[in-house]
Assembly symmetry: C2
DNA sequence: ATGAAAGCGCTAACAG
DNA sequence: CTGTTAGCGCTTTCAT
């Protein structure tokens, strides 16, 4: 009967004290064995590992975290988990985190700045770093967070906080060129949330490209970045139809296609639509959506890799902002079936083209 | 100059000791003020709150968690974050967790049992409870986990662990009836992963319903629960075509529709397809998918609510399994455009109907 | 290379 | 109602 301890005593596994006792060494030696290999005699270490394994010892991450702050947790604040845009971003983030031994704490803030701030407040004390995926907060709020924990923003760009984003400008430019090549002479931008950094960049890039290519550009919106938003956009568009539209994102584009179809338009014969992001579903909606594809998975992975690099470079202390790293990942235009030659003459399709 | 402390001293905010000192009370009183309101004189409490607020005191969740185990963290292990099935489940889970003051730690295990076990091992010591969403692990592995932390399985059902799942059997029955009513006389089931509990239930329910309604039933697969899996399913189906198929899930159904279309079939004229889950995209694929809708958001919400209830009922101690709660949420058949009357005579559509 | 001891910040008996 | 006193399990100087 080697085990005199009642098994009802310990609520959760053996501790370094138990292992130490069993090995006849000091607890600190056991601690070192696991957290600072090399700082302990090879043989002793081996023996300790052995015994620890037999006893089923597992370090308590909470206990480790208390004195060191190393929780191995990363927060990922997502604007809307329900938005397919984030699926692959999360997957990429997960994979990268897992490889580095980190676990993700993900918070869905449902496009609400308030919820975002609350989630952040709650998560920050528990995590080592934060990735803000499509934050709706102000730059200054983000800076406040970044002051407390290493932070990287995703799908946004800032001068003083590390960031990872798709190259929206180039993508937009390609989209405009594509439409121009098809003979369209004026463009409509179906805008997303005003608080969205990407929206600003996309619209501005559209205007510039349109200007250079001598196309007319207008902006409708803002619309919520959802299918419902797209349907609303379709209605707005129908009030003064054009021959093509570029949507803030695929969700709006898909909703817009549905909405316009319902209003009698044929896509792409009457109106060409291009989306942004190439989310799940962009390939099997009807017609298949021409869209500016962002490297979603890479975006997520790079964001946490960047974060982890900052962590490792010891950007733990307050104030030391660490080196700011900014990445712009390449996008590409996926030409599918929602864009076509501009119609020679417009066909009236909206029920009441002049508005109510 | 009330603040004599150098502001470079504290790495992270004031502690209960600081607040206590500032108030002239004992640290434990400050502690009580926040963790056990009511156990402290109203006035004292008020004063303490006041001062704490002024000092910007924030309880350190790690420190609280160490002695109590109350981390306010819940693990959600999902088979595949990239699968739209989980979008609304996560949303529901998030919302419910947030309302109860919990934060989710989500791990994507990419349909891998190994990854699932690793994620669980890593998460368990940090969380108060676990929800296993579509676990691929064996019942016994799940029991092992459930012994360590209150656990609820989602989209699966067990006798000794709380569970939340859609009523697959009824849903399947409705689907079969629907097809029978359209004149189909034999059914093909496009199977999902063998390790999937839902797959077993669905196939069995299909067989029973088919038997009762005097239809023939066969099973093809297993296929990965993805669009690619559906395309593979289409090919298998084409080797010996039928007039209709029920897929394990919407992803397979959508993939199958695309695959069959590519092989020359018209959906639904030549073959009717029904899916399962009503995921994002099921309504805008072509044709819109007839599917058995599961209350995704509720599923997620109920899972964490159940978990939290167990937590509150003090199922913290090892061994005490707490009351097992099992819920079967109602599903409903969404009749859309992928199902139609059985063809009077079959049209040959597969390029090589006899196989290779 | 290893041991002793002092915390990390908070909670929880147990007294008063 | 409030203060005292131990820890929770691990890390980390500082000695030895």
């Amino acid at each position: 009967m080697p085990d005199a301890d009642s098994d009802a005593t310990r609520r959760s596994g053996p501790t370094i004290y138990d292992v130490a006792a069993a090995c006849g060494v000091a607890p600190s030696t056991v601690s070192r064995t696991f957290s600072r290999p090399g700082r302990v005699n090879a043989e002793t270490a081996e023996r300790i590992r052995q015994v620890a394994a037999e006893m089923g010892y597992r370090a308590n991450p909470l206990a480790r975290a208390l004195p060191t702050g190393r929780t191995s947790l990363l927060a990922v604040i997502v604007a809307d988990v329900t938005n397919p845009f984030f699926f692959d971003i999360l997957r990429g983030a997960e994979t990268a985190a897992d490889e580095a031994g980190y676990t993700l704490l993900v918070a869905d803030v449902q496009e609400s700045v308030d919820a975002e701030r609350r989630a952040l407040d709650r998560a920050i004390p528990m995590v080592e770093g934060v990735v803000l995926a499509t934050s709706r907060m102000s730059d200054s709020s983000i800076r406040v967070a970044a002051k407390q924990r290493p932070t990287v923003v995703l799908n946004r760009s800032m001068t003083d906080v590390s960031s990872v984003a798709p190259d929206n400008a180039r993508g937009m430019r390609r989209a405009v060129e594509h439409l121009a090549a098809l003979g369209h002479t004026s463009l409509t931008y179906l805008a997303g949330p005003e608080a969205s950094w990407a929206d600003g960049v996309r619209w501005q890039a559209l205007r510039e490209a349109a200007y250079e290519l001598d196309l007319k550009a207008r902006r409708l919106g803002p619309f919520p970045p959802t299918q419902a938003g797209g349907i609303a956009a379709a209605q707005a568009f129908a009030r003064s139809p054009g021959t093509c539209a570029i949507a803030y994102n695929d969700l709006i584009a898909i909703g817009a296609m549905r909405g316009m179809t319902r209003l009698g338009a044929r896509i792409p014969q009457d109106v060409s639509i291009v989306g942004f992001d190439n989310i799940f579903g962009a390939d099997f909606c009807t017609p298949a959506l021409t869209t500016v594809a962002a490297p979603l998975r890479q975006l997520g992975a790079l964001a946490v890799e960047t974060l982890i690099r900052e962590l490792r470079s010891g950007a733990r202390r307050s104030g030391s902002p660490a080196r700011v790293r900014s990445a712009l990942l390449p996008t590409r235009l996926l030409e599918r079936d929602s864009t076509a030659l501009a119609p020679r003459r417009r066909r009236a399709w909206a029920a009441s083209p002049g508005g109510k």
